[in-house]
Homo-oligomer: 193 residues x 2
DNA sequence: AAAAAAAGTAGACAAATGTCTACCCAGTTG
DNA sequence: CAACTGGGTAGACATTTGTCTACTTTTTTT
């Protein structure tokens, strides 16, 4: 529980008192998920966005041929959810499941809006989250459209070593948009440089 | 000038008076760019984010081999700029130039922060912009890592017909991460379906 | 420890995409 | 009108990446 408190303070310039935090906390729902359990299934509305207290989560899209494409990975102190579905309450095209046993703190969009009005610090945190999220996705797009698979993997390994450690290669491969076979080749080749 | 006013009202639930708007407006700088002129050059800090009143802008990244990779395109009522550089005042890796003669309304990060404190409606607009931007980039990433070039082009054409009309094929090709040659082939093939 | 499941590697082949050169076409400019 | 420029197409070939099947290694479960 403390992790969220730290997170809010880290991303906010305005102080948050213990009492404020108690009220904020009361709007979050704690949830435990065991490995392989779903947080969101395709077609369902993503009613909650979740702060990851513990564990590792995977968000993916299943195409017409039944192939899974990983669009997002999250570990401790990251947020997970389908933004569009969460905001618009529209059915999601994504599936989110727990890759490890995980603990989450979930909150609805409505409650975020409400709390943001009460606590400017929370609004600020959300804004900064959005901001850094935008910056990160911009980088990912730049990488995806302009670099080779080899370069994308190298960049990823450098930027997210912890993620690399906790997910198997084929999940990472999917995240950077290639198959496990290609990643295996790239890694082998990389050893001789 | 009116376009920005409309934009703010459209994206904000809180009313904005004419007087408020006058003050907001005074923080924006009007700028005209002729075709091919730069709005941002690689290595420079992106001091301003710009609202496009008129014209068409192109944002791209130049790789080690001198190849240009289009990361963003913008026309009327869109915003353009390098978010990371703008927020952190760090040198940008991107170049932004005018594809058509254009008119912009530019604003610094500092001024946005200041105005957001004065006008909740502006803060709300910014938040919604971020939100929809996040949703759009998420979709683009999903498309980039999981669809074929053909599918990506089809999706693009459907979602942004106006952009398609105003930029040449090779710019669109770069935007979706392929070469002009490949796009040419895809389009030819598409005629027979 | 044995068995089963999950993850990674390898190689052969196929498909998609990139590269390069040449040429065409349309609009603009001298 | 000729020359030029920007954009698009075409085809030959190279490279990258995907697909599939088989096998090995590692991890988990029993």
């Amino acid at each position: 529980m403390e992790a969220l408190f730290h997170y809010i303070r880290k991303y906010s310039s305005i102080a948050v008192s213990e009492e404020d935090f108690e009220l904020i906390k009361s709007h979050f729902t704690y949830k435990r998920l065991r490995k392989k359990q779903y947080f969101l299934q395709e077609g369902d509305v993503c009613r909650y966005f979740a702060f990851v207290l513990k564990g590792a989560m995977r968000q993916y899209y299943v195409d017409e041929k039944g192939m899974e494409h990983v669009v997002q990975l999250a570990i401790e102190n990251w947020w997970v959810g389908d933004r569009e579905s969460w905001v618009k309450l529209s059915p999601s095209r994504y599936t989110i499941d727990a890759w490890e046993n995980s603990e989450l703190l979930m909150i609805s969009y409505q409650d975020v809006v409400k709390l943001s009005q009460l606590f400017p610090s929370l609004a600020e945190m959300m804004r900064k989250m959005d901001e850094s999220n935008n910056i990160a996705t911009q980088k990912r797009i730049t990488s995806a459209i302009s670099h080779s698979a080899e370069r994308r993997y190298a960049d990823f390994a450098l930027e997210y070593p912890e993620i690399l450690r906790r997910f198997p290669q084929y999940v990472i491969a999917s995240y950077i948009g290639i198959t496990k076979d290609t990643l295996s080749r790239i890694r082998k080749q990389g050893l001789n440089n």
